[in-house]
Symmetry: C2
Subunit: 338 residues, 2 copies
């Protein structure tokens, strides 16, 4: 089968590899309907994370069950499933506590930018749709694999509640999904920090009430103006850099929470500022499975359309160009069709 | 009047100074019934915070209103009042949001280790008792000025809820009050980390179900054992050092919150560990006024006896010895009688 591999920073290839096979009785093999490139894939692509030459890359996918191991009872060949990027048995103490991304038996799906994916702990991880979904629903269903629940987790971690004023730092696909999540969780004002017109448009489509194009001190100033000098009730930090984290703490009102879901790169947390202002921080890798039933309902009922974050749909064969487009910010998020 | 001053690290004096006078119409002057030494007073005493030579020190007190400014309507001479260490108008947006320690018009009370204290924003800050309290209630009422609400804030910030397993790191007066708060908030298991027998006893009196004397890796190991390998639902970090903060994150289960209320000294937050384990951090300077009505009820009804943290009651004249006793950990917390 064809699957995407990374050989070094900037070196993305589509290669022939053997199809995955069931190794554990809890495994499932998925024939991928759609995969995509994650913002986190850009860290190794940009050389900011180490690369194991020739390793496959890609962890987001939806598709049709091809084969399941003997302990997988709720799914069978032909089911259309959402594949969370992190797998879980959904029964361990951490899963039962809503921290499925820390499952005692968890791991990561592989092969997402290819033709077939391998999913461990399939019984606990997968969620299926009622029958085969319409083609136009595929992009939104694909966001359920990672990016939408990640934005949702950021909003939940930041404690977003009805009537809140929420600021979203970062206008990548996760940040845009954070906007959507904040709106769905009842925020009254949702301020998207974004300089890019195409991203601003999606933020507005997701329900952002304000867009702030300024960054740094100027951006914080604008948020202060919009909030009458008070600051935000909740801030969603959806980038993972030191600058964006500092911005997040600068615009949070005393007593607020900052949610964060971007793998931290070079961040030094301002602990004294957090203490002085009583601003907390919570988040991490999203426990996708926890949110899936609720978010799948939102998608299939047509209440939300997170698939809008895919502004580029390309054949799997063009995956290397997809990486370039995301790296150069020509694309927000790239959907790959095997 | 006599009031405690600090001239340099280790140099505590009781000096004659003029009695405070009403400067703003929102001020009140309090004749102090009891004051005390705070763990945070030890930072300058130990030379770990800068000292302005000759400045007064002490911010916790209860006493009788002596005089009020013209805008103070709810209190008058003769009222017995709890004086929060941080003052607030209790009407600004931050106060209305429960972040009274960040009040737009807030400040700190002064003269707490003396005969008379000056309180700004008295109308919003003070809370009075029904009539003059019995002498044996004074220590517990005095804890309401800072240490009990601070422990409470730690537990609230850590999200302690019914049935939780909670670990308290730090067996100072704040940590002990954290134990009491966790128990009152419904925690099922409360594990006090303490090596000192006298402190262990108070922790048990406050409802701790377990005491762990080991520190560092050994302490984390014991907590893991007690929690069946899972970790704590909530951790109260009541010290403020890097070691104690690391311990707190090491024993928190995925998805847990660490509460912190000790002014941070030399802390580097483990942001990657926080992300990987989905363990958050929240807290800061306690919004005392927010909790006072509830906590005053607990004290006056006899439901709790936080005054147990005062294992030393001495005349104000001996304040310098009080500092030595706390510095050398011979005393948990020293109550000063003017």
């Amino acid at each position: 089968m064809r699957v995407t591999t990374i050989h070094a920073a900037g070196d993305i290839r589509l290669e022939e590899r053997p199809e995955p096979t069931i190794k554990a009785p809890t495994d499932a093999i998925i024939k991928i309907t759609a995969g995509c490139i994650c913002g986190s894939d850009l860290w190794p692509y940009r050389g900011e994370n180490p690369v194991t030459a020739g390793s496959t890359i890609g962890h987001e996918m939806v598709g049709v069950v091809e084969e399941v191991g003997s302990q997988v009872r709720s799914f069978r060949a032909g089911d259309f499933v959402i594949v969370p990027f992190c797998t879980c048995d959904n029964t361990c103490p951490h899963c039962r506590n809503g921290a499925q991304s820390a499952c005692s038996n968890g791991g990561f799906t592989t092969g997402g930018q290819g033709e077939y994916g391998l999913v461990g702990q399939a019984e606990g991880s997968l969620v299926k749709t009622d029958g085969m979904p319409d083609a136009d629903l595929i992009p939104s269903l694909l966001t359920l694999s990672d990016v939408f629940p990640t934005g949702w987790h950021c909003a939940v971690s930041a404690g977003v509640k009805k009537g809140d004023t929420v600021v979203v730092v970062g206008d990548g696909a996760v940040g845009l999904c954070g906007v959507l999540a904040a709106v769905q969780l009842g925020a009254e004002k949702v301020i998207a920090m974004s300089r890019h017109e195409s991203r601003q448009e999606i933020a507005r489509a997701f329900g952002a009430t304000h867009v702030v194009a300024e960054r740094g001190a100027g951006g914080a100033e604008r948020v202060k103006e919009i909030t009458g000098g008070v600051g935000a009730d909740a801030v969603l930090e959806c980038v993972g850099t030191d600058d964006s984290m500092r911005m997040a703490f600068d615009i949070a009102r005393p007593g607020a929470m900052v949610g964060f879901v971007g793998a931290p790169h070079g961040i030094t947390l301002p602990v004294r500022q957090m203490f002085d202002n009583n601003v907390g921080l919570a988040g991490g890798m999203a426990p996708v499975r926890r949110y899936l039933p609720e978010l799948l309902d939102l998608v299939t009922s047509g209440s939300v359309n997170p698939g809008l974050v895919f502004d580029s749909v390309i054949p799997l064969a063009d995956v290397a160009e997809g990486y370039r487009a995301m790296d150069e910010r020509r694309a927000i998020k790239v959907l790959l069709q095997p």
